[in-house]
């Protein structure tokens, strides 16, 4: 278990796989707030799970400190006709890792972010029963990120993965700089008189 949480997350950089137990967007905001909290950073958030309108609502109650957020909303584009704003662009969800890489490259070129979050990789791979082809594609994707996108060693790309599909096996440990697991325990507080 990570005891030196602030030290490790505070200095997070490189390609990080963040496994979680179906956390809420507010938990992700809390996590992002721990990263390099004394710097002004731009976060590029590529979302396949939460719409920009939902993200905006959550940020009202859980603001991001010392970070500016730009969202690529791949959820709402399908549902309604929406126009890009200075804080969000709407795109179709990528169908495979090749398209995800293109989406990343285009937005990195445009925005030059310090932190990139992809929410989530569960759309592309299931680590509970990955096939050899899936793992092979995933390795290639990580490798190409390192080769083509990753020029600045102090920055971070955080790939989220929801472990609701079961125990993870075949994790590509070597291709990541760090693998973290975030476990949020939810429940009702015990009754106190």
């Amino acid at each position: 278990m990570l005891k030196e949480t602030d030290e490790v997350i505070g200095k997070l950089h490189g390609i990080v796989l963040l496994i979680h137990n179906s956390v809420e967007f507010s938990d992700i905001v809390n996590f992002l707030n721990k990263i390099r909290s004394n710097e002004q950073l731009l976060v590029l958030y590529i979302s396949f799970i939460n719409s920009y309108s939902h993200i905006k609502e959550i940020l009202k109650e859980n603001p991001l400190h010392s970070k500016k957020l730009f969202v690529v909303d791949c959820v709402s584009g399908f549902l309604i006709e929406v126009r890009d704003t200075i804080e969000c662009s709407y795109r179709k969800p990528p169908s495979n890792l090749g398209q995800l890489k293109d989406l990343l490259m285009n937005n990195i070129g445009d925005k030059n972010p310090n932190i990139i979050v992809v929410d989530s990789m569960s759309q592309f791979i299931n680590f509970s029963i990955p096939t050899e082809d899936e793992l092979d594609e995933f390795y290639k994707f990580l490798h190409s990120i390192k080769e083509n996108i990753w020029g600045l060693k102090d920055d971070s790309i955080i790939l989220l993965y929801d472990d609701k599909y079961g125990q993870l096996q075949g994790l590509p440990t070597i291709s990541f700089d760090m693998i973290l697991k975030l476990e949020v325990m939810r429940g009702t507080p015990r009754w106190k008189d």
């Binding site: 278990m1 990570l2 490790v8 125990q167 096996q169 070597i174 973290l180 476990e183 325990m185 939810r186």
Partner: protein, 216 residues
């Protein structure tokens, strides 16, 4: 209106957040330098997996290990050890499982039988008894799951555990007995309120039990 109020009171909130870091690559180094109070949580691993884990602790060092078992009998562990050797470690067992069956101890030189402890205070007495008998370097307690459920611990359970860990640190942990491994089976659910500050390290072993894929 009453219905709405009721829903509001049962709204789920975040009770706790645990951060874990994957350490597969660093594990040999960590185990080679392991000491202090270590909580080892696992997903119902077999005793042979525990042997593998113990084998890698300070590999080059010869160690006396006191293994206090509340979940596996000595006969079972002896059988597993005959299949998988534990080099560089001399094991002494306290079997708290078969104690009720009153087995004979005369011809066994590495096992003592004891009644299962009812609480952590009795557990502490068994540890002291085992240390007096065997002078171990490392003590393994298998397992804490008998005393506490980290999924939904009561305040009393947490208080007793902290008291127990504190007493291990002040009166049992020393230059000779320098390592305590406390096993905990996570089958009861996601853990919260883990004793982060009273232990030196919390490890989580996840053994992936692969289901055979169907081939036509």
């Amino acid at each position: 209106m009453e219905r709405l109020k009721m829903l509001k009171t049962v709204e789920k909130t975040n009770l706790n957040i645990n951060y874990w870091k994957e350490i597969q690559g660093e594990l040999p180094d960590i185990l080679n330098n392991l000491s202090g109070i270590v909580l080892l949580t696992h997903n119902s691993v077999e005793f042979t997996d525990i042997i593998d884990f113990l084998k890698n602790i300070r590999k080059e060092e010869f160690m006396n290990v006191l293994y206090i078992s509340l979940v596996r009998s000595y006969d079972y562990m002896k059988n597993a050890l005959s299949l998988k050797q534990l080099d560089q470690k001399r094991m002494m067992f306290i079997d708290c499982v078969s104690g009720y069956a009153f087995p004979q101890e005369e011809n066994i030189d590495n096992c003592l039988y004891h009644k299962p402890p009812q609480n952590l205070e009795e557990m502490k007495q068994i540890i002291t008894f085992g240390i007096d008998k065997s002078g171990p370097d490392m003590i393994v307690i298998d397992s804490l799951s008998q005393f506490i459920n980290f999924t939904r611990p009561t305040e009393y359970e947490i208080r007793e555990l902290y008291k127990f860990l504190q007493s291990l640190r002040t009166s049992s942990l020393n230059i000779i007995q320098n390592t305590f491994i406390l096993l905990y089976d996570t089958k009861l659910g996601v853990m919260q309120n883990l004793p982060k500050f009273s232990t030196d390290l919390i490890l989580k072993v996840e053994k992936v039990k692969e289901e055979t894929r169907w081939i036509d």
